[in-house]
Symmetry: D3
Subunit: 283 residues, 6 copies
């Protein structure tokens, strides 16, 4: 579609109050799902992030792994066992996770952002011990639980004008590496930084009243209503821990937490700079 | 017209390269003509300026007078005599010009900007002797010619995050007040500040090849071509000194100078954040 | 009179403890009365202010209007009605007040200060919404009451080395302009800034025990004694609201408040840099 | 061996002039060879670097790959072809190099440094486009040649108190990844930063007059003597490009360039804080 | 003795955790006794201080007088009377003390430090009234007791990168000069600065369980144990006030206080950068 | 004499242009002669200096010795020999000079300034090697000639808000102490600092055309006229080297150099803040 210049101007000017609201604020984006594998969506997410940075927000990008980890494990002949939905992570698997997340995905994202005019620095949990973790249980091995977040490297990068891109690999003081949950890391980082908002990308429309009906989106959920939704099955399966991370972020002082549909082009831009919403907001 | 969220996102994202180009740069806007009297246009100009400020530009607004001065002179029974198109300005007329420009128009603009979320400070040529002037000739009285610009108060305001709004009244070291040409002031301020661009608002489509045909707009003029256009009458009448001010600004190091159509809503936004143009650019 | 160089030195050296006491402190001067119309007195006040600035004080000059407003209203054929001593202010009157205060008097003062070597910036209540106001009552129209002071523009000007000159016109978030009481504005600004002292210029010797005897000056009044003086008529008429503004400033944390005789040359200098007093101090 | 406290003190005090000489200076360390695979040597190098940082030097650690890359290529069934001693690098190989260098080795080093009390941030050529490269020839594929160094991210990290650890992977503006020569990167980074010294670790004693006699070490070589040594075969094989990188660093303004024996414990410390030398210095 | 380079490296690397512990911390050294008169010891102390400064500590050197004062008093024919172990100090004696401490010893130390590569500034209690004092009793004259410490000049010198060298002469607001106890000054300065540690040099091994047996050193004393040791005579004579100063420093928030043997070369270095101890630590 | 408040105000206001002229400028005062021994004059000089500091000048006080040195040498039984008007200075004499200047006179001045409300730090040539010197000739011993001035400690003190008081003792890199000429030091310090003016106090009215007639003062001398005045004997004896120091300061870029009559109360204040002069100005 072709837009008239008047249309363009009107839309830009309508973004004004949103830009004012977020000026100088920290926005943490948890990047994942389809948006990581579809090149068009990836381009749209990175474009959104650079734009938000230019209009005065301080954006932190948090990413996990996805199919590239499984793919590499397969190629190296490592079989994965799962316990309670968590990958049993031996030392070698943890190393492969580290390599793929911090070496491949992280640096590709950083490179992408720089190539469209942003300035990014890639960080992992090991850099200045940003993410410290510990074992959840012996049988899960190095599938870890976050024990502390060091906000200094992120704040230093923001102060110097960079977009910090954080891969969710944890470490401890003994040299061990941990595979940690990206939603959990994003929630804790947003809380520790006192972020204005946390935007978590998924591959659904958000929280649906009827999971088979995409038009049944619940656009706003009060923290107090969450248990009820879980009980009634509206929030279920993999969405439960994600929602719990969102609620945890709110408890840690983040003002607004969104679960947005990462399959929609420019979902982040729409969520922050327009009055439309493309997901569910938690308050 | 209603826009889809995808449309909104697309237009915002298309502004990205323009925002990058102007980031941190100084843009001087010479405000005048219809845009000063039509409330809708005034609102659109002030909205544009606040938006540009939020996306990282440092905007300086320069304004002259217009019908409010004539109106006040009429009410006070002052008759105006003109010599060579310039108002013969006695001491009392100069005082009335000062009062209307620096007291009425300037402060109304400042108030307007603040009410839509910007932070403006109104300055006149007297504030820290921003604009010093001298008589052009004895018979013209206090219709002055700019002798020097003090950029410090403007730069101080920009550094502190304000939008400086400058009324074009000059002064000298002996306490005299001068009515000075606003285009000339804008050109000299843009040059002294090393501005990236100067945008001058008029009540025409720009420079027209055929002045009766609005579709005959010349969208770009090389400085070297200007004399020719003046000779051939394409540039004529009141447009001649305006064009000369534009050329002067380029000579003083401003990168891009635009004469834009102030009757078009959001003309400034369109000129800076889209690839459309609503006037004539001088290079 | 000719002074010997020894006399000069002695007087300068005797100013030392006063200069030390005020070093880096904020002094708010409410300028008004005869000192605004008598050219010699005006020159003496502006000289004092520049000198105090140079010896390390941070001076803020607050001014109201005086005869120039009435004069302009007369010339424009506006008749003024008064209710309870306050001018009934319709929208047009408010605009004329704004124009005269912020455009004429304010910029003349700024120009004057610059011409004797100071660096001044003129501000009004509209600049970055320094003074917000609301209606006192419908029948008084836009004769307003101050609702909030934004100290940021004043502090920014002081930090950048300017003398802020503030004209007492108020505004609100809807674009209205208010005629506000200058003593009240001075008192609230001094309080909000945490000023060391507030010096309010009048056309009397100060508070006189016997109003017909200029030698009966009361040089110091405890806040607690004020009601008594009002009851007994020592403080009466227009002096009552002025004294109330002084007491209000003390309540807001200003250390010393003076009502000084603006008809005396260099009254401000005498009050701050010598042990003589030219008025009444409130503690 | 047990040292008496007097011995300890004497040795510490003898380091004083060296600490003074390097105070605040940038020292670039090219880490490689045995010191990367032997755990004891790795510990000794990282300890040296943290110590030098604490005594006031600003250390930048540059590392290449080594056997871990070959190992991973083998495990993934990628066969390596070599042309003129350079690995022919297809797109997939370049990705594996990136993953191992930036994800595995780099983050392990960063983690190691943090665990012994330093504060490190791992960077790659992609971070804020630190290292840009281009193809050397089509047949070599993504075995690249450095075209530019962006010193900003390194200087920002140093200013914020971090030890920057740089993995030598290059990128270009089109999203390609390049396998670049680590000696070359170290030389160019040292030159661009205006480093005081460049220390390059090898697995030999330095330049030996007789390659079979470790006691025939040449402890100092003038740049002008190098061609002669190459001609006579004293400098030969893989040492030639290494020496050329050293000379290039000197040409770019680095004051002192060392090739040191990485098999010696604390070789860096010895070279910088004592009058002993463990290799060859170029001047 | 000749050290191998490996020995040198090992000792330097063993200092690492101590350097980390003290990084950026303030260490106050009370210099006195034999170390002031023996040229070798003086050289060793000044070398230690410059080294500690270079490895990131902020060292403050406090010194008293010693035999040079007595010597000068003798030469000038002033006889000293003592009451309760304190010198009766008349005005002239106080002046001589000032002259020797602030003019001779202080400036010699400053000169010494500069000549070995440090940057020192000598301060006395009079400089910006660093040490204010009052009389202890009339009969003792100007043998004073410290009443307040002004930490600003010391902190300003540290911030500017100087080693402040403080001579322990006190003053008051009336121009009097006081001979004050150096241990007491050191303790109060360390407390006021929030120093990490206070190191007090003496001419003994530290606190000895049996004063005739140098091997009976008590290496650590809890504050609570001190009264007991005084009662039992383990701490006796001139050591009592010294110990009391140490305890006072701990009470004022200093973390570690040491009494060390100033007769041992590099005692300060050993105490701070090795795990050996050359005296008694108070906790 | 009693001054009216109007007189006081007039004198203060007449100082305004002088205060403006010197604002932020460095003024070096060479203090000496009667003003050092007469308590009233000392008080007047120190008061002047504190006042000038408060009105925005950055004052550096340089002092030599005077009778206190001779007095101390006498008391210690040291006889002084003179060669060419210069005291032959053996090592012991140099030490006594150091002690009296840096320990007694310097700290007394610092104390005096602090007690009247200034903030002073005393420096000597040894502090951060402010004054380096060398022997003039073997026979004169440690009567030295200045070889270099380190302006850093003075500039650091000024930046931190202190009045630096400098005693004119020199040192070298071998630990030697030198008795240096105070006029020469003052001239070189003023030149190195780029001072606005150098004020040198003497015990005469200035340069007199007829040395027996105090009314024959020459109030201004061009540098080019000096040789003539020396030839004709107008400038003679001890005044010759003083005048040469003044001329040297002008050559090093000091704008104005004054020889003023230190026997006049507040001579410095009069010279800087009034249009009266109390000596001879060199241009």
């Amino acid at each position: 579609m072709e837009f008239s210049i008047a249309d363009r101007a009107q839309i830009l000017i309508e973004a004004l109050p949103y830009i004012q609201k977020y000026n100088g604020k920290i926005v943490v984006v948890k990047y994942g799902g389809h948006a990581m594998v579809d090149e068009e969506l990836k381009k749209s997410v990175m474009g959104d992030i650079v734009l938000l940075t230019l209009v005065g927000m301080r954006v932190v990008l948090i990413h996990g792994g996805g199919p590239e980890i499984t793919n590499m494990l397969d190629r190296l002949g490592k079989k994965s066992e799962f316990v309670d939905g968590l990958r049993v992570t031996d030392k070698e698997t943890a190393e492969i996770v580290q390599m793929v997340l911090a070496g491949k995905i992280n640096k590709d994202l950083v490179n992408f952002i720089d190539n469209i005019g942003g300035h990014a620095i890639g960080l992992s949990g090991m850099d200045s011990h940003l993410i410290e973790a510990e074992k959840i249980s012996e049988k899960l091995g190095y599938a870890g639980r976050v024990t502390s977040i060091n906000p200094k490297p992120i704040l230093d990068m923001l102060e110097k004008g960079y977009i910090p891109v954080v891969s969710t690999v944890g470490c401890d003081k003994h040299g061990n590496i941990y595979n940690v949950n990206a939603d959990d890391v994003a929630s804790q980082i947003a809380g520790t930084l006192g972020a204005e908002s946390l935007i978590s990308m998924t591959d659904t429309r958000g929280i649906l009243r009827d999971k088979d009906d995409e038009t049944s989106l619940i656009s706003e959920i009060q923290v107090s209503e969450a248990p009820q939704y879980i009980k009634s099955g509206v929030i279920s399966g993999g969405m439960i821990p994600k929602v719990e991370s969102c609620i945890e972020a709110l408890r840690r002082g983040v003002n607004r937490v969104f679960i947005i549909d990462g399959r929609v082009q420019h979902a982040i831009l729409i969520e922050t700079l327009t009055d439309a919403g493309v997901g569910t907001m938690f308050k």
